[in-house]
């Protein structure tokens, strides 16, 4: 089996896992569940990007993954500060 | 607002510059001969890291500024991160696997645990280590009468006694962190 195919397949698995979490994002009873689910979707999409970078042998996807990671962290800290009423 | 100390400024600048070199791939230029240094990138990185350190040094460094550059402590830190903490992480992940797929019953609750670490960095490092292991989340740190307490959400409360719960949550991590930040 070729390595690129394996990487693409596992990237697709990560995207499917992220899509499963959309259920929690929509239904989640409290806003905290939604924030955590959005954070986890961000991480899973990042992992898919890393695997695509390996499959296509280009490191440009890694820069995008780094930017997404930073934005996800800032976003979830922002949400928690807003919930505490200090924003 | 606190004043920025010069030593704090200096160590933050060095760390920022190292990070810049890592991200722009200039450290790799040492290894690969066909990818030479670029003076522009080096100078821009120096200016940006000085500016960043001017603004942010007072938030990062409160105690000894040059701790980070002590090689013995760095080796201890690497041993802690790569062996001790990784082992705790794997154990906790496997037990989380058992909880999720119904092999063990969950029993959530919030317990209060005492710690006797003194340095601020050590306290926050222990809190972060506890949060990173699945199954325990540090919710708050409180200080009263000179002692420091963590409030920890624990997915399987086996004991409510402060000492036993502390031993079972912190494990060997607290000993190593005390050794690192002594």
């Amino acid at each position: 089996m070729e390595a690129a195919n394996v990487f693409t397949f596992s990237a697709i698995c990560f995207v499917v896992l992220a899509l499963l979490l959309v259920y929690r994002l929509i239904k989640g009873p409290s806003v905290v569940d939604r924030a955590v689910a959005a954070d986890s979707i961000d991480i899973l999409a990042d992992m898919a990007l890393v695997l695509f970078a390996l499959a296509s042998k280009r490191s440009i996807y890694l820069d995008i993954a780094l930017v997404t990671a930073v934005l996800g962290f800032v976003g979830s800290v922002m949400v928690s500060r807003y919930l505490e009423g200090r924003l | 607002m606190k004043k920025t100390k010069f030593s704090a400024f200096l160590s933050t600048t060095v760390v920022c510059y190292l990070f810049w070199l890592l991200l722009t791939g200039q450290l790799v230029a040492l290894i690969q001969p066909n990818n030479p240094f670029s003076a522009q990138v080096l100078i821009a990185g120096a200016i940006v890291s000085v500016l960043t350190a001017l603004f942010s040094a007072r938030f990062f460094v409160h105690e000894k500024a040059f701790w980070f550059f002590n090689p013995i402590k760095l080796i201890l830190l690497a041993v802690y991160c790569l062996i001790i903490f990784m082992w705790e992480l794997i154990k906790a992940n496997v037990s989380m696997f058992c909880y999720v797929f119904g092999l063990k019953k969950t029993n959530p609750g919030i317990v209060k645990v005492e710690t006797d670490l003194e340095s601020e960095y050590a306290q926050s490092m222990l809190a972060n280590s506890i949060t990173l292991t699945p199954g325990t989340i540090t919710m708050d740190i409180a200080e009263s009468k000179g002692k420091t307490y963590y409030y920890i959400h624990w997915i399987d409360v086996s004991t409510q006694d402060m000492k036993e719960a502390g031993d079972s949550i912190k494990g060997t991590m607290e000993k190593w962190i005390r050794r690192i930040w002594r």
Partner: protein, 115 residues
């Protein structure tokens, strides 16, 4: 031979990401779901990152890519607990409580004492 090591790391990562996702869908209260999401951001990330570092050094011989991957993994390990306990504390202060009563709740008792 090296390929199979990389595949094994990615498989470990997929297993623990699946654990986290199933836990987030299946657990009953918010805090337990938060615990399950920690699973995704620790071993779920580290497996892929370590496998990718091995691949980019051994097969692609592209060291700058490996360094970038290392920075990405370090960033995740440093930041995920911070957002974790920020969100947990905010949820408690906001008044999110599990439906089934928790076995013990020392934090709530101490907060009531303060007020």
């Amino acid at each position: 031979m090296m390929d199979y090591v990389i595949y094994a790391f990615i498989a470990v990562s997929l297993i623990f990401a699946l654990t986290g996702v199933v836990g987030m869908l299946r657990f009953k209260d918010s805090y337990s779901r938060m615990q399950a999401s920690t699973c995704i951001s620790t071993l779920g990330v580290l497996g892929v990152i370590i496998g990718a570092i091995i691949y980019s050094v051994a097969e692609l011989s592209d060291i700058s890519m490996a360094v970038k991957l290392g920075v990405l993994g370090l960033f995740y390990i440093v930041t995920s607990p911070i957002s974790g306990h920020a969100i947990a504390k905010a949820a408690y202060r906001r008044g999110v409580r599990p439906e089934k009563k928790m076995k013990c709740d020392k934090y709530g008792e101490d907060l009531e004492d303060d007020n």
